[in-house]
């Protein structure tokens, strides 16, 4: 496996074959592909892809790989916006940014349903990665970047999300006894004034349980006169009380630098949607680049825990 490390000091190494998946790899007409969530399957790594179709709204397709780098995409999408039933009204503008979490052998997908009243967080599950059963819409409008923790915390399911209050995008945590009804919401982290993540932050990767706490790889946004810059950072949270911050990276672990990250439908975006950790601690982080392709970056869990903060 070839990888490059940016001399300017990004902690993550880019795969030399980036971008891993572009619109040219999609077997049907599509505008772009980005923000893919990895699933560790028996025969390799799958990615649940967000594809922006030619209409302009998004849906999901499945990519399969044996090595985690080279993917083949299924002929047909696996999940399209609902056309009828209780979800239809809230998915008129598409479904976006899936994040996958396995809890007690069930594969859950938290995604953003986009409708006329704005984005809402929704939950679905799958057993074969091809058929998805919708469970519930689990937030009010004005909320996105939802993802489930991989286990219960103090007896309840837990999730991150990103409501917008006072124009600020912060990461919050909420709890549920049944995955449908949620409450006890608390703020986790907010924008860090003056820093690279001073405009908005949102959870990105399903939290990784470590001895030191929950490692959350998140996205931070800085607004500039020519638009936002999306970078990737890390934060370490208390295992029992994830609203308690142990450490937070003061600098990003990956920033847009390569052409495929700087140029696209939305330039200057690195947006992680999931990570896979091998037994030896080698970690692959999948991220959308410039809202136009999917890329892979690597490092070890150890490196993040020792060097990111």
């Amino acid at each position: 496996m070839k990888k490059t490390r940016c001399p300017a000091g990004d902690l993550l190494h880019r795969w030399e074959g980036n971008p891993a998946i572009t619109m040219e790899d999609i077997p049907f007409r599509a505008n772009t592909v980005f923000n893919g969530a990895p699933i560790v399957a028996e025969d390799g790594v799958y990615l649940l892809l967000r594809i922006e179709g030619q209409h302009g709204y998004s849906f999901f397709a499945l990519a399969r790989s044996t090595d985690g780098f080279n993917f083949t995409i299924d002929e047909k999408p696996v999940m399209l916006p609902a056309k009828e039933g209780p979800f239809a009204l809230y998915e008129t503008k598409g479904i976006e940014d899936p994040r996958v979490t396995i809890i007690e052998d069930t594969c859950y997908v938290v995604y953003t349903a986009v409708g006329d009243c704005g984005p809402r967080i929704a939950l679905a599950k799958t057993t074969d990665y091809v058929n998805y059963e919708r469970i519930a819409l689990i937030s009010e409008p004005g909320n996105k970047d939802g993802l489930l923790f991989p286990g219960k915390i103090r007896g309840r399911y837990a999730r991150f999300d990103r409501p917008i209050g006072l124009g600020k995008g912060c990461i919050w945590v909420s709890y549920s006894p049944d995955l449908t009804n949620w409450g006890c919401s608390e703020q986790v982290i907010g924008p860090h004034e003056g820093y690279w993540d001073e405009f908005r932050v949102g959870a990105s990767v399903t939290p990784i349980e470590t001895e030191e706490g929950w490692l959350e790889i998140y996205h931070g946004v800085k607004m500039t006169t020519s638009g936002p810059i999306y970078r990737i950072g890390a934060v370490l949270l208390d295992l029992d009380y994830p609203s308690k911050v142990i450490k937070r990276s003061s600098r990003p672990i990956l920033s847009p630098r390569e052409e495929y990250e700087r140029i696209g439908d939305i330039g200057n975006v690195c947006f992680a949607c999931g990570a896979v950790i091998a037994d030896d601690g080698e970690m692959k982080i999948y991220y959308g680049a410039a809202d136009t392709s999917i890329c892979v970056a690597t490092c070890t869990l150890e490196q993040i825990l020792t060097e990111a903060f």
């Binding site: 849906f59 008129t92 020519s226």
Partner: protein, 318 residues
């Protein structure tokens, strides 16, 4: 060269139905022998065996003017350094063209070549009309809209006995308006609007001069989607009833061309492809002339048949 299809090299992108000319951009800043800030769009006209272009140039001062470009024997285009249409000093036009003239679209009607352009002045954008018979001299007919109207194109035939134009007033939709004398316009009706959730959800406007085809009028239009990093401009198509242009016969669900190449993604206005002219040659090959990133002129190639098929297909799911 660009008319000879035997050696026309095109570059495919994914499953897009418009293929890019392999030698794009056709005209960039370095091809000019005078100083300019950037190159916007180009109206297209077939005149005496040649395809002429009316190119909008932004000067280093920020003002804009329309320049004629002719094909040379080497097969490239040469943009004339003297403007074809320049901001007028005439009292009637001066205030309304103080920031320049731009986006000329050409229509041939009853032996006259009409140029519908944007006059950009103290009060914003207004539509204005000029005429020529030889592309040597040009004569202004009048300012034909109130401010805040852009993207005007004149139909190449009268509709129910009246002149007709498409335009984009301040609501960001395409409208049709009619006239008996080309000076007084009325009877305005909505034609198409932006579609929520789609690639054209923020604004739409007519691009190339309407083309008469078997099914009615074929109009290439631009659709914008606003993003946090600025708008993305793409090209779509719509077929309108020949007698009632407000009746939509078909509209592409998907864009026929989206910014993908670096020359479309990087420039003064990035992520922009903007059609202002098209030309069908003897082989039924449709050449779309489009401005890219407000910095160069490019050619996209397809067929009327493929575009019609895209307009008429039922709402595909993905």
């Amino acid at each position: 060269m660009i008319i000879d299809n035997s050696n026309l090299l095109t570059k495919r992108c994914g499953r897009d139905i418009v293929h890019r000319w392999e030698l794009n951009p056709l005209i960039g800043i370095n091809d000019l022998d005078f100083n300019c800030a950037d190159i916007h769009n180009a109206g297209v006209v077939y005149f005496q065996g040649e395809v002429l272009l009316l190119v909008t140039i932004e000067y280093p001062t920020g003002h804009q003017g329309i320049h004629l470009a002719r094909p040379t024997s080497e097969g490239i285009y040469k943009v004339e350094s003297n403007p074809f249409l320049h901001q007028s000093e005439e009292p009637k036009y001066k205030r309304h063209e103080s920031r320049g003239v731009l986006d000329g679209r050409v229509t041939f009607l009853d032996g006259v070549y009409y140029i519908l352009y944007n006059a950009f002045g103290d009060y914003g954008y207004r539509l204005a009309l000029a005429r020529t018979e030889d592309f040597g001299t040009v004569e202004r007919i009048g300012l034909i809209s109130e401010p805040d109207t852009k993207a005007g194109v004149l139909f190449p035939a009268k509709i129910k006995g009246r002149y007709a134009r498409l335009e984009r007033p301040s609501d960001g939709s395409i409208w049709a308006t009619y006239s008996d004398d080309l000076l007084h316009w009325g009877g305005s009706e909505l034609v198409i609007s932006p579609r929520g959730g789609f690639w054209d959800e923020s604004r739409v406007g007519a691009g190339a001069t309407p083309m008469e085809i078997e099914q009615g009028w074929l109009v290439l239009y631009y659709g914008a989607k606003d993003t946090p990093a600025g708008p993305i401009y793409r090209i779509g198509a719509v077929i309108l009833n020949r007698q009632e242009p407000t009746e939509v016969i078909g509209r592409t669900n998907m864009p026929i061309l989206s910014p993908r190449e670096n020359y479309e993604r990087i420039g003064d206005v990035p992520n922009l492809v903007f059609p202002t002219g098209a030309f069908v040659d003897n082989d039924d090959c449709l050449k779309i002339f489009y401005g890219a990133a407000n910095s160069c002129i490019c050619i996209g190639i397809t067929t009327i048949e493929k575009i019609v098929e895209n307009c008429l297909e039922s709402q595909v799911e993905y």
